[in-house]
């Protein structure tokens, strides 16, 4: 059916952000990697940072992130994005440097690099996509896979006694003095998406003011590897992930408090 045009004066209240390039993504339908991308782009636009941004893509489904943003980007070896970001930030301290990492990338192979970037109070921002599995390689167990969750490498469900316990990354990093802003948000509904955006904005403000390390963990869906429709996946995130990965602020440096956004 056709919906008639509005006849009164109208204005675009939402448009695709400039900081996204005009490229089609390779993400699966419904994958909230796309939402995270959009939020970053919106914040970059709002803060006018496009010309100062340098992104570090990691290895995972977001490996091609460098294609999707209209600002400078590099692509890191698996897990090493915080180290690359450190290298960039140290020579260009006035740029806003961002890593974009999955949970396999950041919390598994890249654990040492992110812990040390946080401990150093490295003035960078990590956007951390927690989708409880290795999306890119076909859905293996990640450090974030929930107890009992079936993946292609925990075919009988994650048995914590044998496969270990999931890691709550935001909680972990919050223990480090160099970390200024460490929070967890979710991408499963409009309200939480708005909160996620606010957190990304705060993280960039933290970096802009030189307050040190910031990380925004984002609970995200992977319908393909979860074997669900996007709808089901959203529901699963809400029902299974959030109880385990409590949303909230895990570390907020006092001087972050007066960032008003």
């Amino acid at each position: 059916m056709t919906v008639p045009e509005l006849d009164s004066e109208q204005v675009a209240v939402y448009q695709r952000p400039d900081a996204l390039s005009d490229t089609n993504t390779h993400y699966c339908p419904g994958c909230t990697h796309g939402v995270a991308h959009r939020l970053i782009a919106e914040v970059v636009d709002e803060m006018g940072l496009r010309e100062r941004m340098i992104g570090v893509a990691s290895v995972g489904c977001s490996v091609f992130a460098y294609n999707y943003f209209d600002f400078d980007f590099v692509q890191s070896p698996h897990g090493r994005a915080p180290a690359m970001a450190t290298g960039i930030k140290r020579v260009l301290p006035d740029r806003i440097v961002l890593t974009y990492q999955g949970d396999g990338d950041l919390a598994s192979i890249g654990m040492a690099e992110v812990v040390h970037a946080a401990a150093r109070g490295e003035n960078i921002t990590c956007i951390f996509i927690n989708n409880t599995n290795y999306g890119m390689t076909g859905g293996q167990m990640a450090p974030t896979t929930l107890p009992g969750q079936k993946t292609t490498s925990s075919p009988n469900g994650r048995d914590v006694e044998v496969n270990g316990y999931p890691i709550r990354t935001a909680e972990l990093l919050s223990k480090l003095d160099g970390a200024s802003y460490v929070v967890r948000r979710s991408l499963h509904d409009p309200k939480n998406i708005r909160l996620a955006k606010k957190a990304i904005r705060t993280a960039f403000e933290v970096q802009k003011r030189g307050l040190g390390f910031s990380m925004v963990e984002l609970l995200s869906i992977c319908p393909t590897n979860w074997g669900m429709t996007p709808r089901q996946a959203i529901q699963w995130l809400e029902e299974k992930m959030i109880p385990f990965y409590a949303l909230g602020d895990y570390k907020v440096n006092p001087s972050v408090a007066d960032i008003k956004i």
């Binding site: 919906v3 939402y14 695709r16 089609n24 339908p29 796309g34």
Partner: protein, 77 residues
């Protein structure tokens, strides 16, 4: 009376994931099951009147495929 709105879906980008559909408070979006995009997806579209231009669909869309328009309400001076 709620404001009147309208959305435009960029069909090059839409992947028919329905995240907009399931979140529209007015339930006015649906996938068009009769058409396929170039990439082989059924695109989302405004299926009935009643859009308020609230922007929630755009907030959900992973592909940033939605532009939202809203009528300008002249405030009494």
């Amino acid at each position: 009376m709620p404001p009147k709105g309208r959305i435009e879906v960029n069909e090059d980008l839409c992947k028919g994931c329905e995240l907009c559909v399931m979140n529209c408070p007015q339930e006015v979006i649906a996938l068009n099951m009769e058409r396929m995009t170039k990439r082989g997806y059924h695109p989302a579209e405004l299926a009935k009147p009643g859009c308020t231009g609230c922007g929630i669909c755009a907030t959900m869309c992973p592909e940033a495929a939605i532009t939202v328009y809203r009528e300008v309400i002249q405030k009494p001076a």
